[in-house]
Protein backbone atom coordinates (compact mmCIF):
# COMPACT_ATOMS: atom_id res chain seq x y z
CA UNK A 1 0.00 0.00 0.00
CA UNK A 2 1.22 3.52 -0.73
CA UNK A 3 0.75 6.66 1.30
CA UNK A 4 -2.31 8.64 0.27
CA UNK A 5 -1.73 11.40 2.81
CA UNK A 6 1.79 12.36 3.75
CA UNK A 7 3.40 15.11 5.78
CA UNK A 8 7.11 15.71 5.36
CA UNK A 9 9.12 17.60 7.97
CA UNK A 10 6.31 19.87 9.12
CA UNK A 11 7.36 22.52 11.61
CA UNK A 12 4.95 24.89 13.26
CA UNK A 13 5.57 27.28 16.13
CA UNK A 14 3.25 29.46 18.15
CA UNK A 15 5.32 32.24 19.67
CA UNK A 16 8.25 30.49 21.27
CA UNK A 17 6.53 27.12 21.47
CA UNK A 18 7.31 24.60 18.75
CA UNK A 19 4.07 22.64 18.39
CA UNK A 20 5.28 20.54 15.45
CA UNK A 21 8.92 19.72 14.99
CA UNK A 22 9.99 18.03 11.75
CA UNK A 23 6.79 16.02 11.79
CA UNK A 24 6.67 13.28 9.17
CA UNK A 25 3.65 11.01 8.92
CA UNK A 26 2.35 8.61 6.28
CA UNK A 27 -1.24 7.47 6.06
CA UNK A 28 -1.65 4.52 3.73
CA UNK A 29 -4.45 4.47 1.22
CA UNK A 30 -7.46 2.57 2.49
CA UNK A 31 -6.14 2.38 6.06
CA UNK A 32 -7.59 3.42 9.39
CA UNK A 33 -4.63 5.05 11.07
CA UNK A 34 -4.61 6.30 14.65
CA UNK A 35 -2.73 9.37 15.83
CA UNK A 36 -2.12 9.40 19.56
CA UNK A 37 0.09 11.31 21.95
CA UNK A 38 -0.11 13.02 25.31
CA UNK A 39 -1.84 16.36 25.82
CA UNK A 40 -0.05 19.12 23.95
CA UNK A 41 1.92 16.77 21.70
CA UNK A 42 0.66 18.50 18.54
CA UNK A 43 -2.10 16.20 17.25
CA UNK A 44 -4.71 18.87 16.60
CA UNK A 45 -2.07 21.27 15.27
CA UNK A 46 -1.07 18.63 12.73
CA UNK A 47 -4.74 18.25 11.74
CA UNK A 48 -4.96 22.04 11.40
CA UNK A 49 -1.87 22.20 9.21
CA UNK A 50 -3.07 19.35 6.98
CA UNK A 51 -6.51 20.89 6.52
CA UNK A 52 -5.35 24.48 6.02
CA UNK A 53 -6.53 25.89 9.36
CA UNK A 54 -2.92 26.63 10.35
CA UNK A 55 0.05 27.47 8.16
CA UNK A 56 3.18 25.35 8.39
CA UNK A 57 6.44 27.23 8.98
CA UNK A 58 8.29 24.54 7.05
CA UNK A 59 7.66 21.16 5.47
CA UNK A 60 5.06 19.85 3.06
CA UNK A 61 1.70 18.08 2.96
CA UNK A 62 0.87 15.75 0.07
CA UNK A 63 -2.39 14.16 -0.95
CA UNK A 64 -1.24 11.45 -3.30
CA UNK A 65 1.23 13.17 -5.61
CA UNK A 66 -0.35 16.58 -5.15
CA UNK A 67 1.25 19.06 -2.79
CA UNK A 68 -1.41 20.84 -0.76
CA UNK A 69 0.81 22.59 1.78
CA UNK A 70 -0.80 25.72 3.22
CA UNK A 71 -3.82 25.53 0.91
CA UNK A 72 -6.95 27.17 2.28
CA UNK A 73 -9.43 24.94 4.18
CA UNK A 74 -11.97 24.97 1.33
CA UNK A 75 -9.30 23.97 -1.20
CA UNK A 76 -8.17 21.11 1.02
CA UNK A 77 -11.79 20.05 1.45
CA UNK A 78 -12.36 20.16 -2.30
CA UNK A 79 -9.14 18.24 -2.88
CA UNK A 80 -10.65 15.36 -0.95
CA UNK A 81 -9.83 15.71 2.74
CA UNK A 82 -12.75 16.04 5.13
CA UNK A 83 -12.38 16.56 8.86
CA UNK A 84 -14.32 16.78 12.07
CA UNK A 85 -13.38 18.88 15.08
CA UNK A 86 -12.71 18.09 18.72
CA UNK A 87 -15.56 20.40 19.66
CA UNK A 88 -18.27 19.85 17.11
CA UNK A 89 -18.97 22.71 14.72
CA UNK A 90 -22.62 22.29 13.91
CA UNK A 91 -25.32 24.94 13.52
CA UNK A 92 -27.40 24.42 16.67
CA UNK A 93 -30.30 26.60 15.52
CA UNK A 94 -30.76 24.66 12.27
CA UNK A 95 -32.38 21.26 12.07
CA UNK A 96 -30.23 18.19 11.61
CA UNK A 97 -31.26 17.95 7.95
CA UNK A 98 -30.67 21.67 7.37
CA UNK A 99 -27.15 21.24 8.76
CA UNK A 100 -26.59 18.58 6.13
CA UNK A 101 -27.68 20.94 3.35
CA UNK A 102 -25.13 23.63 4.25
CA UNK A 103 -22.06 22.22 2.44
CA UNK A 104 -21.87 23.30 -1.19
CA UNK A 105 -21.28 19.72 -2.25
CA UNK A 106 -24.59 18.49 -0.91
CA UNK A 107 -26.44 16.56 -3.59
CA UNK A 108 -29.91 17.25 -2.25
CA UNK A 109 -32.19 16.15 0.53
CA UNK A 110 -32.34 12.51 -0.44
CA UNK A 111 -28.57 12.11 -0.39
CA UNK A 112 -28.40 13.99 2.92
CA UNK A 113 -31.02 11.69 4.43
CA UNK A 114 -29.07 8.65 3.23
CA UNK A 115 -25.99 9.84 5.08
CA UNK A 116 -28.05 10.51 8.21
CA UNK A 117 -29.50 7.02 7.94
CA UNK A 118 -26.02 5.61 7.54
CA UNK A 119 -24.78 7.20 10.77
CA UNK A 120 -28.02 6.26 12.52
CA UNK A 121 -29.56 9.66 13.30
CA UNK A 122 -32.09 10.00 10.46
CA UNK A 123 -34.87 9.76 13.04
CA UNK A 124 -33.74 13.15 14.38
CA UNK A 125 -33.62 14.90 10.98
CA UNK A 126 -36.28 17.54 11.83
CA UNK A 127 -34.93 18.20 15.33
CA UNK A 128 -32.81 21.27 16.02
CA UNK A 129 -29.19 20.16 15.97
CA UNK A 130 -28.65 21.93 19.29
CA UNK A 131 -30.92 19.38 20.98
CA UNK A 132 -28.75 16.42 19.98
CA UNK A 133 -26.61 14.66 22.56
CA UNK A 134 -22.87 15.14 22.31
CA UNK A 135 -22.40 11.73 20.69
CA UNK A 136 -25.17 12.39 18.19
CA UNK A 137 -23.50 15.68 17.26
CA UNK A 138 -20.32 13.75 16.51
CA UNK A 139 -22.34 11.46 14.25
CA UNK A 140 -23.90 14.49 12.54
CA UNK A 141 -20.45 15.89 11.88
CA UNK A 142 -19.39 12.57 10.39
CA UNK A 143 -22.47 12.54 8.15
CA UNK A 144 -21.74 16.15 7.19
CA UNK A 145 -18.20 15.28 6.14
CA UNK A 146 -19.41 12.27 4.14
CA UNK A 147 -21.59 14.50 1.96
CA UNK A 148 -18.49 15.67 0.12
CA UNK A 149 -17.39 12.06 -0.43
CA UNK A 150 -13.79 12.79 0.60
CA UNK A 151 -10.97 10.32 -0.02
CA UNK A 152 -9.44 10.95 3.37
CA UNK A 153 -11.36 11.61 6.57
CA UNK A 154 -9.66 13.16 9.60
CA UNK A 155 -11.54 12.64 12.84
CA UNK A 156 -10.50 14.67 15.90
CA UNK A 157 -11.51 12.76 19.02
CA UNK A 158 -14.65 11.11 17.61
CA UNK A 159 -15.18 9.18 20.86
CA UNK A 160 -14.31 12.01 23.28
CA UNK A 161 -17.11 12.62 25.78
CA UNK A 162 -19.41 10.16 24.01
CA UNK A 163 -21.32 7.44 25.87
CA UNK A 164 -20.09 3.85 25.32
CA UNK A 165 -23.09 2.78 23.19
CA UNK A 166 -22.56 5.61 20.72
CA UNK A 167 -18.80 5.03 20.76
CA UNK A 168 -19.53 1.53 19.46
CA UNK A 169 -21.85 2.97 16.81
CA UNK A 170 -19.20 5.46 15.67
CA UNK A 171 -16.56 2.71 15.45
CA UNK A 172 -18.93 0.48 13.46
CA UNK A 173 -19.65 3.25 10.94
CA UNK A 174 -15.96 3.96 10.44
CA UNK A 175 -15.18 0.29 9.93
CA UNK A 176 -18.02 -0.10 7.45
CA UNK A 177 -17.01 2.96 5.43
CA UNK A 178 -13.46 1.75 5.32
CA UNK A 179 -14.48 -1.77 4.30
CA UNK A 180 -17.10 -0.92 1.68
CA UNK A 181 -15.71 2.28 0.14
CA UNK A 182 -12.02 2.02 1.12
CA UNK A 183 -12.14 5.46 2.66
CA UNK A 184 -8.89 6.36 4.38
CA UNK A 185 -9.11 7.53 7.99
CA UNK A 186 -6.72 9.35 10.26
CA UNK A 187 -8.10 9.43 13.78
CA UNK A 188 -6.93 11.42 16.80
CA UNK A 189 -8.28 9.83 19.94
CA UNK A 190 -7.49 9.51 23.65
CA UNK A 191 -9.78 6.53 24.18
CA UNK A 192 -7.17 3.82 23.81
CA UNK A 193 -9.53 0.86 23.65
CA UNK A 194 -11.31 2.62 20.76
CA UNK A 195 -8.22 3.59 18.81
CA UNK A 196 -6.27 0.40 19.40
CA UNK A 197 -9.29 -1.72 18.48
CA UNK A 198 -10.10 0.21 15.32
CA UNK A 199 -6.74 1.06 13.78
CA UNK A 200 -4.35 -1.28 12.02
CA UNK A 201 -1.58 1.25 12.47
CA UNK A 202 -1.02 3.87 15.15
CA UNK A 203 1.40 6.79 15.01
CA UNK A 204 2.55 8.45 18.23
CA UNK A 205 3.33 12.13 18.53
CA UNK A 206 5.46 13.49 21.33
CA UNK A 207 6.54 17.12 21.48
CA UNK A 208 5.53 17.64 17.86
CA UNK A 209 7.46 14.71 16.42
CA UNK A 210 6.29 11.25 15.38
CA UNK A 211 8.29 9.05 17.75
CA UNK A 212 6.82 5.69 16.80
CA UNK A 213 4.37 4.09 14.43
CA UNK A 214 3.19 0.55 13.95
CA UNK A 215 0.52 -1.97 14.88
CA UNK A 216 -1.26 -1.35 18.22
CA UNK A 217 0.31 -4.32 20.00
CA UNK A 218 3.80 -3.09 19.21
CA UNK A 219 2.96 0.51 20.07
CA UNK A 220 1.58 -0.43 23.50
CA UNK A 221 4.94 -1.78 24.62
CA UNK A 222 7.26 0.59 22.77
CA UNK A 223 9.49 2.31 25.35
CA UNK A 224 9.40 5.57 23.38
CA UNK A 225 5.63 5.58 23.64
CA UNK A 226 5.76 4.87 27.36
CA UNK A 227 8.24 7.74 27.73
CA UNK A 228 5.81 10.02 25.88
CA UNK A 229 2.90 9.11 28.13
CA UNK A 230 4.54 8.59 31.51
CA UNK A 231 7.00 11.43 31.12
CA UNK A 232 10.72 11.36 31.45
CA UNK A 233 12.03 11.29 34.96
CA UNK A 234 13.39 14.56 36.22
CA UNK A 235 16.59 14.35 38.16
CA UNK A 236 15.12 16.15 41.15
Amino acid sequence: MSALLRTAGITKSFGGVRALDDCTLEVEEGSITGLIGPNGSGKTTLFNVITGYAKADAGAVYLGERMITNSSPDKVFNAGIGRTFQLTRIFPALTVLENMLVPSKTKGKQSAMEQLEFVGIAGHHDQLAGTLSYGQRKLLELAYVLVADPEVILLDEPAGGVNPTLVGQIAARITELNRTTRKTFLIVEHNMEFVMGLCAKVAVLDAGTVVASGPPDIIRTDPRVLDAYLGVDVDA
Binding site: G160, P216, T221, Y229, G231, A236
Partner: protein, 247 residues
Protein backbone atom coordinates in the same frame (compact mmCIF):
# COMPACT_ATOMS: atom_id res chain seq x y z
CA UNK B 1 -2.10 -2.59 46.16
CA UNK B 2 -5.70 -1.52 45.92
CA UNK B 3 -7.59 1.72 46.07
CA UNK B 4 -9.78 0.85 49.03
CA UNK B 5 -7.33 0.53 51.93
CA UNK B 6 -7.53 3.43 54.34
CA UNK B 7 -5.97 4.01 57.74
CA UNK B 8 -8.35 6.51 59.28
CA UNK B 9 -5.47 8.82 60.28
CA UNK B 10 -5.31 10.67 57.02
CA UNK B 11 -5.47 14.41 56.39
CA UNK B 12 -7.91 13.88 53.56
CA UNK B 13 -10.19 10.92 53.14
CA UNK B 14 -12.18 10.38 49.94
CA UNK B 15 -14.76 7.60 50.03
CA UNK B 16 -16.71 6.14 47.11
CA UNK B 17 -16.83 9.48 45.35
CA UNK B 18 -19.03 9.77 42.28
CA UNK B 19 -19.13 13.11 40.47
CA UNK B 20 -19.42 14.60 37.02
CA UNK B 21 -20.88 17.28 34.81
CA UNK B 22 -24.30 17.40 33.20
CA UNK B 23 -25.69 13.88 33.10
CA UNK B 24 -22.40 11.98 33.03
CA UNK B 25 -20.16 10.68 35.79
CA UNK B 26 -16.46 11.40 35.51
CA UNK B 27 -15.55 9.92 38.91
CA UNK B 28 -17.06 6.54 39.62
CA UNK B 29 -16.55 5.39 43.20
CA UNK B 30 -13.16 6.90 43.97
CA UNK B 31 -11.66 6.03 47.34
CA UNK B 32 -8.30 7.33 48.41
CA UNK B 33 -6.54 8.97 51.31
CA UNK B 34 -3.85 11.55 51.79
CA UNK B 35 -1.67 10.65 54.77
CA UNK B 36 -0.17 13.46 56.84
CA UNK B 37 3.22 14.92 56.03
CA UNK B 38 3.67 13.31 52.66
CA UNK B 39 3.16 13.96 48.99
CA UNK B 40 0.36 11.94 47.46
CA UNK B 41 0.57 11.94 43.68
CA UNK B 42 -2.40 11.14 41.46
CA UNK B 43 -1.58 10.26 37.87
CA UNK B 44 -3.55 8.79 35.00
CA UNK B 45 -4.34 9.23 31.33
CA UNK B 46 -6.40 12.04 29.87
CA UNK B 47 -9.98 11.92 31.05
CA UNK B 48 -9.18 9.73 34.06
CA UNK B 49 -10.84 12.26 36.36
CA UNK B 50 -7.80 13.76 38.11
CA UNK B 51 -8.81 17.40 37.76
CA UNK B 52 -12.42 16.53 38.60
CA UNK B 53 -11.19 14.97 41.83
CA UNK B 54 -9.35 18.21 42.63
CA UNK B 55 -12.47 20.25 41.92
CA UNK B 56 -14.47 18.11 44.32
CA UNK B 57 -11.89 18.46 47.09
CA UNK B 58 -11.70 22.24 46.73
CA UNK B 59 -15.49 22.54 46.62
CA UNK B 60 -15.78 23.76 43.04
CA UNK B 61 -17.78 20.69 42.09
CA UNK B 62 -20.35 19.00 44.27
CA UNK B 63 -20.15 15.21 44.23
CA UNK B 64 -23.30 13.17 43.58
CA UNK B 65 -22.40 10.34 45.93
CA UNK B 66 -19.67 9.65 48.45
CA UNK B 67 -17.83 11.69 51.03
CA UNK B 68 -14.73 13.80 51.47
CA UNK B 69 -13.42 14.52 54.95
CA UNK B 70 -10.58 16.73 56.12
CA UNK B 71 -9.19 15.51 59.45
CA UNK B 72 -12.52 13.75 59.90
CA UNK B 73 -14.64 16.81 59.13
CA UNK B 74 -17.01 16.32 56.19
CA UNK B 75 -16.51 18.80 53.34
CA UNK B 76 -19.85 17.97 51.72
CA UNK B 77 -21.96 21.06 51.08
CA UNK B 78 -19.17 23.47 52.01
CA UNK B 79 -18.35 26.32 49.66
CA UNK B 80 -14.84 26.74 48.18
CA UNK B 81 -14.36 29.68 50.58
CA UNK B 82 -15.25 27.56 53.63
CA UNK B 83 -12.97 24.79 52.44
CA UNK B 84 -10.18 27.33 51.98
CA UNK B 85 -10.73 28.52 55.56
CA UNK B 86 -10.30 24.93 56.71
CA UNK B 87 -6.85 25.03 55.18
CA UNK B 88 -7.24 23.45 51.75
CA UNK B 89 -5.45 25.65 49.21
CA UNK B 90 -5.30 24.87 45.52
CA UNK B 91 -2.79 25.95 42.91
CA UNK B 92 -4.74 25.62 39.66
CA UNK B 93 -3.47 24.08 36.46
CA UNK B 94 -3.50 27.31 34.45
CA UNK B 95 -1.36 30.23 35.48
CA UNK B 96 -3.36 32.35 37.84
CA UNK B 97 -1.21 35.30 38.89
CA UNK B 98 -2.36 38.87 38.36
CA UNK B 99 0.04 39.73 35.58
CA UNK B 100 0.01 43.50 36.05
CA UNK B 101 0.66 43.28 39.77
CA UNK B 102 4.10 42.79 41.29
CA UNK B 103 5.32 39.49 42.64
CA UNK B 104 5.10 40.93 46.16
CA UNK B 105 1.49 42.00 45.67
CA UNK B 106 0.58 38.61 44.27
CA UNK B 107 2.15 36.76 47.19
CA UNK B 108 0.55 39.15 49.66
CA UNK B 109 -2.85 38.45 48.11
CA UNK B 110 -2.44 34.82 49.13
CA UNK B 111 -2.95 36.09 52.68
CA UNK B 112 -6.02 38.13 51.78
CA UNK B 113 -8.09 36.46 54.48
CA UNK B 114 -5.53 37.16 57.22
CA UNK B 115 -6.74 40.17 59.17
CA UNK B 116 -3.68 40.72 61.36
CA UNK B 117 -1.00 42.70 59.49
CA UNK B 118 1.79 41.42 61.74
CA UNK B 119 0.82 37.83 60.97
CA UNK B 120 0.66 38.71 57.29
CA UNK B 121 4.15 40.25 57.35
CA UNK B 122 5.54 37.25 59.23
CA UNK B 123 4.00 34.84 56.75
CA UNK B 124 5.57 36.71 53.83
CA UNK B 125 8.95 36.54 55.56
CA UNK B 126 8.54 32.79 56.08
CA UNK B 127 7.55 32.21 52.47
CA UNK B 128 10.44 34.32 51.15
CA UNK B 129 12.81 32.42 53.44
CA UNK B 130 11.66 29.18 51.83
CA UNK B 131 11.90 30.64 48.32
CA UNK B 132 14.63 33.30 48.47
CA UNK B 133 14.70 33.59 44.67
CA UNK B 134 11.12 34.91 44.75
CA UNK B 135 12.15 37.67 47.13
CA UNK B 136 14.57 38.86 44.45
CA UNK B 137 11.72 39.26 41.96
CA UNK B 138 9.43 41.03 44.42
CA UNK B 139 9.18 44.32 42.52
CA UNK B 140 8.78 42.75 39.07
CA UNK B 141 5.43 42.46 37.37
CA UNK B 142 4.23 38.87 37.59
CA UNK B 143 3.51 38.87 33.86
CA UNK B 144 7.17 39.48 33.10
CA UNK B 145 8.24 36.20 34.72
CA UNK B 146 8.80 32.94 32.86
CA UNK B 147 6.26 30.12 33.21
CA UNK B 148 8.44 28.28 35.73
CA UNK B 149 9.01 31.43 37.80
CA UNK B 150 5.29 32.17 37.83
CA UNK B 151 4.68 28.65 39.11
CA UNK B 152 7.01 29.28 42.06
CA UNK B 153 5.22 32.53 42.88
CA UNK B 154 1.91 30.64 42.78
CA UNK B 155 3.37 28.14 45.25
CA UNK B 156 4.51 30.98 47.50
CA UNK B 157 1.09 32.61 47.34
CA UNK B 158 -0.56 29.31 48.30
CA UNK B 159 1.73 28.92 51.31
CA UNK B 160 0.59 32.25 52.78
CA UNK B 161 -2.33 30.50 54.47
CA UNK B 162 -0.09 27.75 55.90
CA UNK B 163 -2.31 25.14 54.28
CA UNK B 164 -3.34 21.96 56.04
CA UNK B 165 -3.47 20.46 52.59
CA UNK B 166 -1.95 21.93 49.44
CA UNK B 167 -3.54 20.86 46.15
CA UNK B 168 -1.28 21.12 43.12
CA UNK B 169 -3.02 20.54 39.79
CA UNK B 170 -0.45 19.59 37.14
CA UNK B 171 2.24 22.09 38.15
CA UNK B 172 4.52 20.97 35.30
CA UNK B 173 1.89 21.69 32.63
CA UNK B 174 3.26 23.74 29.77
CA UNK B 175 6.75 24.08 31.21
CA UNK B 176 9.94 23.36 29.28
CA UNK B 177 11.71 20.16 30.40
CA UNK B 178 14.69 22.05 31.83
CA UNK B 179 12.38 24.04 34.11
CA UNK B 180 10.68 20.95 35.52
CA UNK B 181 13.46 20.19 37.96
CA UNK B 182 13.09 23.62 39.54
CA UNK B 183 9.34 23.15 39.95
CA UNK B 184 9.61 19.63 41.34
CA UNK B 185 12.41 20.74 43.68
CA UNK B 186 10.08 23.45 44.97
CA UNK B 187 7.31 20.89 45.57
CA UNK B 188 9.74 18.78 47.58
CA UNK B 189 10.94 21.85 49.48
CA UNK B 190 7.38 22.80 50.48
CA UNK B 191 6.79 19.26 51.68
CA UNK B 192 10.04 19.19 53.65
CA UNK B 193 8.90 22.38 55.37
CA UNK B 194 5.88 20.44 56.67
CA UNK B 195 3.14 20.90 54.07
CA UNK B 196 1.02 17.88 53.16
CA UNK B 197 0.53 17.85 49.39
CA UNK B 198 -1.96 16.26 47.03
CA UNK B 199 -0.34 16.47 43.61
CA UNK B 200 -1.99 15.72 40.29
CA UNK B 201 0.68 15.32 37.66
CA UNK B 202 0.89 14.54 33.95
CA UNK B 203 4.56 13.60 34.17
CA UNK B 204 3.83 10.37 36.03
CA UNK B 205 7.43 9.28 36.42
CA UNK B 206 8.68 12.56 37.87
CA UNK B 207 5.58 13.01 40.04
CA UNK B 208 5.63 9.51 41.51
CA UNK B 209 9.38 9.61 42.04
CA UNK B 210 9.14 12.51 44.45
CA UNK B 211 5.98 11.30 46.20
CA UNK B 212 5.53 9.15 49.28
CA UNK B 213 2.22 7.82 47.97
CA UNK B 214 0.96 7.21 44.47
CA UNK B 215 -2.43 6.63 42.90
CA UNK B 216 -3.21 5.78 39.29
CA UNK B 217 -6.68 6.70 38.10
CA UNK B 218 -8.21 5.54 34.87
CA UNK B 219 -11.69 6.11 33.54
CA UNK B 220 -12.92 7.64 36.80
CA UNK B 221 -11.64 4.91 39.07
CA UNK B 222 -8.59 4.23 41.22
CA UNK B 223 -6.73 1.42 39.48
CA UNK B 224 -3.47 1.31 41.45
CA UNK B 225 -2.29 2.74 44.73
CA UNK B 226 0.68 2.26 47.00
CA UNK B 227 3.94 4.00 47.70
CA UNK B 228 5.17 6.26 44.92
CA UNK B 229 7.84 3.74 44.01
CA UNK B 230 5.46 0.75 44.06
CA UNK B 231 3.11 2.48 41.67
CA UNK B 232 5.93 3.72 39.46
CA UNK B 233 7.34 0.23 39.09
CA UNK B 234 4.01 -1.56 38.72
CA UNK B 235 3.93 -3.57 35.46
CA UNK B 236 0.38 -2.45 34.68
CA UNK B 237 1.01 1.29 34.72
CA UNK B 238 1.82 1.52 31.00
CA UNK B 239 -1.26 -0.51 30.07
CA UNK B 240 -3.44 1.86 32.08
CA UNK B 241 -2.29 4.66 29.80
CA UNK B 242 -2.20 2.77 26.51
CA UNK B 243 -5.07 0.31 26.92
CA UNK B 244 -4.97 -3.41 27.48
CA UNK B 245 -4.85 -3.35 31.31
CA UNK B 246 -6.61 -6.20 33.09
CA UNK B 247 -9.99 -5.29 34.59
Amino acid sequence: MTGSETTGRSVLQVDELTAGYGGGDVLRGVTLEVPPGGITCVVGPNGAGKSTLMRCVSGLLRPRIGSITLHGEPLAGKSPREILRLGVVQVPQNHSLFRDMTVWENVELGGYTIGDKKVLAKRIDTVFELFPQIAQWRTQKAGSLSGGQQRLVEFARALMLEPTLLLLDEPSMGLAPKILKTVFDAVRQMNSAGTTILLVEQNARAGLRLSSHGVVMENGQVRLSGTGREVLEHPEIGALYLGGASR
